[in-house]
C-alpha cells in the first residue's frame, strides 16, 4: 500500500517537473518580449545578449503612443473583434445545432460546402472579395472589415464535435417534455456546452484579434485602422524600433491574456457535463 503511494507520488513529481520545464520553455520567449520592451536600443544589440535591461526605461511605451494613434487602433480592434466574434458564435451555434441535431434534406451538402470553404487560401480570394466589397460600398467602413471576416466554418465544426457528444437520451427526454427544436437547443444543448462555446468564442476572438491583411486592404482611414496594422507600422522599416515594437506587442496581448486567465476556469472545467454522468 505504502509502496504504491510512494510510487504515485514520485510519478506525480516527475510529471510536475516535466510540465514545469516545458512550460518555462513555453513562456521564455514571452518573458523575453516583456524584458525587451524595457530595453534601450543599445541593450538590444549587445553581445553577448543582455537579458535584463540595463535601465528599466518606460520610454518605449510612450513612443508607441507617439508613433501611432494606439488608443484609436485599440478601440477599432475591440469593436471589430467583438462584433466578428459575437456574430460568428451566434451563427455557428445555430448552424452546428441544425447540422447535428436536426434532420433536413441537403444538410450533408451544406456541411461539405462549409468544410470546403476552409480549403481556399485567403491570398487568392482577397482580390475578388475586395471587388465585392467595393461594389457594396463597404470600403473604409466597420462593416467592410467585419462582414467578410465572418467565416464560421471553423467554429461551427468545433461546436459540432461537442454538440455531437450530448447523449441522445437527454434530447429525447426534453422532447418528451414538450420541447420543440428551439427548446431543445436553448434548454439542453447550449446550457450543457457552455464551456465548449466559451472555447469557440476564445478561438474566434483570437483569430479576429490578430487579423492584419484584410483590414489593411479594405481600410485607408486612420479611424478604421486596427492594432496589427499599427504593430506592422512600428517594425517594417528596420529592426531599430525592435524595443518599441515589443512594448506595443505587450500592450496588445495584455487584454487577451487577462481575458484568458479569467475565463480559464470556465473554459476547461465547466465542460464537464453533469447530465452525462449516467
Amino acid at each position: 500500500m505504502s509502496k504504491t503511494k510512494k510510487y504515485r507520488y514520485n510519478r506525480h513529481t516527475a510529471t510536475f517537473v516535466l510540465l514545469l520545464i516545458l512550460s518555462l520553455a513555453m513562456i521564455f520567449p514571452f518573458v523575453w518580449m516583456i524584458l525587451s520592451s524595457f530595453k534601450t536600443a543599445a541593450d538590444v544589440y549587445q553581445y553577448p545578449p543582455r537579458w535584463i535591461p540595463s535601465v528599466w526605461n518606460w520610454k518605449n511605451y510612450g513612443q508607441v503612443f507617439q508613433m501611432i494613434p494606439f488608443l484609436r487602433y485599440y478601440w477599432n480592434s475591440i469593436v471589430t473583434t467583438v462584433a466578428e466574434t459575437g456574430l460568428q458564435i451566434i451563427i455557428s451555434v445555430l448552424a452546428a445545432y441544425s447540422l447535428v441535431h436536426l434532420k433536413w434534406p441537403g444538410q450533408n451538402l451544406v456541411a461539405a460546402l462549409m468544410r470546403s470553404s476552409m480549403f481556399v487560401p485567403m491570398v487568392v480570394t482577397m482580390i475578388p472579395m475586395y471587388l465585392l466589397c467595393a461594389s457594396l460600398g463597404l470600403i473604409d467602413t466597420y462593416a467592410g472589415i467585419i462582414l467578410p471576416q465572418i467565416t464560421t466554418a471553423f467554429t461551427t465544426f468545433l461546436l459540432m464535435s461537442y454538440f455531437a457528444s450530448i447523449p441522445q437520451d437527454m434530447i429525447d427526454a426534453a422532447k418528451l417534455d414538450g420541447c420543440g427544436p428551439t427548446g431543445v437547443m436553448m434548454r439542453v444543448v447550449v446550457p450543457n456546452t457552455k464551456g465548449a462555446i466559451a472555447t469557440a468564442t476564445l478561438f474566434s476572438f483570437l483569430g479576429n484579434w490578430k487579423s492584419y491583411t484584410w483590414p489593411l486592404i479594405i481600410t485607408s482611414k486612420t479611424e478604421y485602422r486596427t492594432l496589427p496594422i499599427g504593430l506592422k507600422y512600428l517594425t517594417q522599416e528596420s529592426s531599430s524600433e525592435y524595443q518599441v515594437m515589443m512594448a506595443a506587442a505587450v500592450m496588445t496581448i495584455l487584454p487577451v491574456l487577462i481575458v484568458f486567465i479569467f475565463f480559464e476556469k470556465q473554459l476547461v472545467r465547466s465542460i464537464t457535463l453533469t447530465g452525462m454522468k449516467s
Partner: protein, 316 residues
C-alpha cells in the same frame, strides 16, 4: 413568442412528417433546421462562394494584376504549374512540413493535455503558460524567434554549446530551415490543441474512468481503452483542422523567411501562390494553383473523414 412555444410543444404529439428526396423528415425540424442554417449560408455566399467562382473563372485566364489585362487561355495555367519546378518543390516542402507538424502537434498536445488533466499542483499556471504563445501576435513572436535562431548571438546555439552539441545554422541552412520554422509554429500553436483535448478529456464522465480503475486498468490501459476512444470526435476535428491549416500555412513562413529560405527550402505552396499573384502579378496562375491546393486538401480530408468515421462506429 408564446404561439411559437405552444406550436413546438404540440409538435411531437402530432408528428407532422414530410417526404423529401425519398426520405421522411419532421416538418418542424426541416423548417427550423433550414432557418438556422440560413445565416451561415448567407455569409458563405459572400465570403466563399462568390469569391471562389471568381477564382475558378480567373484560373482559366492570364489575368495579370499589374497590367490588368485578361484573356481566356483554357488550361495553360495548370499546364504551366505542372511543368514548373517551383510548384513541385513548394508542394514537396508543404507535404514534409504538414506531415511533421500534424504528427508532432497532435501527439504532443494530446500528451500534455493528458498530463494537465491530472490533479497536479500549479495546473492553472501550466495551462496558461502553454496557451500564452497563442496570444502573442505573429509579428512580435517571429521577431523574438528570429533572434533566438541567430547562429552567432542567438541563445539557442549558446544552449547547444552548453550541452556539448554541435551548433546549428537554424533558419540559414537548407536542411534545417523548414524544421526551425516547424519548431516555432509548434511553440506558437500547440496551446490551441491542448485546450481542445483538455476540454474533451474533461468531458469524459468520471463513471467511465472509475469503472475502468475498479477493473484494475493501469493508467496506460485507461488512456488507450477508455479515454482515447472517447476523444475521437475531438481528435478527428483536430486532425482535420491540422490538415487544412498546415497545407494553408503562410504567416509563419512569410515572417521568418520572406525570401523562401536558403535554396527555396521554406517556400511553401501558399508562399508560392503569393509570389505568383503579388510578386509576379500572375493572378491567373495563382488561382489555378489555389484550385490545385483545394483539390489536394479535399482529397486528404475526405480520406481522413472516411478513416475517422469508420473508427467512430467501432466505439459506439
Amino acid at each position: 413568442m408564446s404561439s411559437e412555444a405552444s406550436a413546438q410543444r404540440s409538435a411531437p404529439a402530432r408528428k407532422h412528417k414530410i417526404k423529401l428526396f425519398g426520405r421522411e423528415y419532421h416538418t418542424n425540424e426541416v423548417a427550423v433546421g433550414i432557418l438556422f442554417i440560413v445565416p451561415t449560408l448567407a455569409f458563405m455566399v459572400f465570403t466563399f462562394i462568390l469569391p471562389v467562382i471568381d477564382v475558378v473563372d480567373l484560373s482559366f485566364t492570364n489575368f495579370n494584376l499589374k497590367t490588368r489585362t485578361m484573356k481566356y487561355i483554357q488550361f495553360e495555367n495548370f499546364k504551366y504549374l505542372l511543368g514548373a519546378e517551383d510548384f513541385w518543390k513548394s508542394l514537396l516542402n508543404t507535404v514534409k512540413y504538414s506531415v511533421m507538424k500534424l504528427t508532432l502537434d497532435t501527439s504532443i498536445a494530446l500528451f500534455l493535455a493528458v498530463l494537465l488533466d491530472k490533479n497536479i499542483k500549479g495546473k492553472k499556471f501550466f495551462r496558461s503558460s502553454f496557451f500564452a504563445p497563442v496570444v502573442v501576435p505573429m509579428v512580435a513572436s517571429s521577431l523574438i524567434w528570429i533572434w533566438f535562431y541567430d547562429p552567432t548571438v542567438g541563445p539557442f546555439n549558446q544552449i547547444l554549446g552548453w550541452l556539448g552539441l554541435p551548433e546549428s545554422q537554424w533558419l540559414y541552412h537548407e536542411s534545417t530551415a523548414l524544421w526551425s520554422i516547424l519548431l516555432f509554429s509548434l511553440w506558437k500553436g500547440v496551446g490551441y490543441n491542448i485546450i481542445l483535448f483538455l476540454s474533451g478529456l474533461q468531458n469524459i464522465p468520471d463513471s467511465y474512468t472509475e469503472a475502468a480503475k475498479l477493473d484494475g486498468a493501469s493508467e496506460w490501459q485507461l488512456f488507450w481503452r477508455v479515454k482515447f476512444p472517447l476523444l475521437r470526435p475531438i481528435t478527428s476535428f483536430v486532425i482535420m483542422m491540422g490538415i487544412i491549416n498546415s497545407f494553408k500555412v503562410f504567416a509563419e513562413f512569410n515572417v521568418m523567411t520572406p525570401d523562401g529560405g536558403p535554396l527555396g527550402s521554406t517556400k511553401l505552396i501558399v508562399s508560392y501562390i503569393y509570389e505568383l499573384a503579388f510578386t509576379n502579378g500572375r493572378m491567373g496562375r495563382a488561382c489555378a494553383c489555389a484550385l490545385m491546393l483545394f483539390a489536394l486538401i479535399f482529397v486528404l480530408t475526405q480520406f481522413q473523414s472516411m478513416v475517422g468515421a469508420h473508427k467512430t462506429v467501432d466505439i459506439d
